[in-house]
Subunit: 327 residues, 2 copies
């Protein structure tokens, strides 16, 4: 099969390789479409010393597996857990210490003609959800994860910082869940997209977004940091009310971490909550109900042959989602 | 009146001064006894550029105020809020931006023959609670604050790090609230005290308590960091389970902050929760019910004349509570 390989930081190539083997209980999926995520770009730059086949946002057709799934169009949860440990038995397989993670950790990813995942990870995509929409199941699940972790009362004010694809998705999800959302970002084009969804926006210049001052002289009970930049973290913390919650949806380069104001955390009794992957079923349900506009987040659709180019494109400032048509 | 003054870092003296004025709605309290807290020691070293009269753990007799309180024995919530702002109206006066804080911020403290606090801050001490016990209302309220902020299911495993006076108090409170508590510390004498309360203990040496490895090769859904040392923070984080909560009950010197493993926070979906002051009424109730052993936490009782010496004593490694008999 053909697959995109990251061989070293910045060294990407599309070439032939063996299809991944199937372990017991696993299915083979012929990938139709895959999305390029910020994590993929980080992996390509050397995050986690990654080498191998990246890609974890996908939709495909089951080609090997149990009868009921053969030929079905599926998406797949990216954490493949052991299913036996105490963590798995408590329903927290996404945190299984033995897990592999599709295209991220010890499991070849979705920028390939074929991938393997445990049968229990796969969900059949409803017919009314297109391939282009289904590819967003994974990031949409990550956005919903916030609401699995913390209790956000309907009507709560939430500040989402970062108008990239994840920030735009999270702002939509928060608004859908009943929060009064303000999206802070730097890009007029993206902010106007949010306003189309009736989300309040706040244009910030680079000075404001990297200063430890609250945004718009206002503080919020819930703040979601989606930029992964240290300056934005300082601003996010300053924008969090006493007893408020600051949700981190992206991490920071170890070489340039934010400075944390520890006294503020304790004196203002702030909660900082790390947030990663979520459940696929509710995300797929929202897509099927047409509640979340993911199509507007697509900037480019490219063929598999141009996959390496697609990574460069996705890394261009201001670019939203780049989708790769694998087959 | 006589009062202890901090004039500059390390410069303490007991001398005559004017009693603090009474604002509208405030009462004057003749202090009987006051406790020396770690925060007092930090203020004496220059924390918050403090100068003035420290002290916020006290019990005293109301000498000026409304009829119903005159002559009554009281303790007092230390945050004096404006009572009018949105924060106060939401019941969060402890976070009022206009607040003064007894002996900490813009309000002369309890190492003085007289102090002033708003009437609404004062609580009458039940007769069966001694002065020595009543002085612990403030730190006990701070321990209970954890349970006001987060939901700890009965039977949850909690690791409390630090066997100082606050750690010992928090371990007791967590056990009282139904958690299965492990107290990690370095001091045999203090750990044996915890075992007397049927709390499991873990003796750690300085290497373990400052390494980013989990304690006892185990991880906990709830970890409470009570040491304020950067090494212990790393260890606390490593001891927190995925999706677990790490509660910070003390802060870190800005000159030597802990390094935060941001990737771990996001990947393991850890919550870090700053925790400060709590409500006095439930604390006083627990004392009245005899549920919490605070007497065992008292190491020294000294006269007001020896107050400066008491600070030096309290700063000695391994010392638990030093109480000052003011009048």
């Amino acid at each position: 099969m053909k697959a995109l390989h990251i061989d070293a930081p910045g060294v990407l190539s599309l070439r032939d390789t063996l299809a991944p083997p199937l372990a017991e209980g696993e299915c083979r999926v012929a990938v139709r479409m895959a999305g390029i995520c910020r994590t993929d770009l980080e992996l390509a730059k050397g995050y986690m010393n990654f080498s191998g086949i990246p890609g974890h946002e996908f939709v495909g057709i089951v080609s090997e597996g149990p009868e009921r799934l053969i030929g079905r169009r599926v998406v797949g949860e990216i954490n493949a857990a052991c299913g036996r440990c105490a963590t798995c038995r408590s329903g927290m397989g996404r945190h299984c210490a033995e897990r592999t993670v599709l295209g991220i950790y010890k499991r070849p990813g979705a920028f390939a003609q074929s991938l393997s995942l445990p049968e229990s990870n796969l969900l059949v995509v409803p017919d009314n959800v297109s391939d282009e929409e289904a590819v967003f199941t994974e990031p949409l699940a990550a956005a919903l994860e916030i609401f699995e972790q913390i209790h956000v009362q309907p009507g709560s004010r939430m500040l989402v910082i970062g108008d990239g694809k994840l920030g735009l998705l999270i702002a939509q999800v928060c608004a859908h869940m009943g929060a009064r959302v303000t999206l802070a970002g730097r890009h007029d084009k993206k902010l106007s997209l949010a306003r189309r969804w009736n989300i309040e926006t706040l244009k910030v210049d680079s000075a404001l977004s990297s200063s430890p001052a609250s945004m718009a002289n206002d503080r919020f009970p819930f703040v979601v940091e989606c930029t992964g930049t240290p300056g934005a973290f300082a601003s996010a913390l300053a924008s969090t009310m006493p007893r408020g919650t600051l949700i981190l949806k992206s991490t920071y380069a170890p070489s340039n971490p934010p400075q944390l104001d520890w006294a503020k955390i304790v004196v203002d009794e702030i909660s900082i909550v790390g947030s990663r992957c979520g459940q696929f079923a509710p995300a797929l349900r929202l897509l099927s109900q047409g509640k979340i506009d993911v199509r507007s987040l697509i900037d480019h659709r490219i063929s598999f042959d141009r996959c390496v180019e697609g990574f460069a494109l996705a890394a261009t400032k201001g670019t939203l989602k780049v989708l790769v048509q694998v087959s």
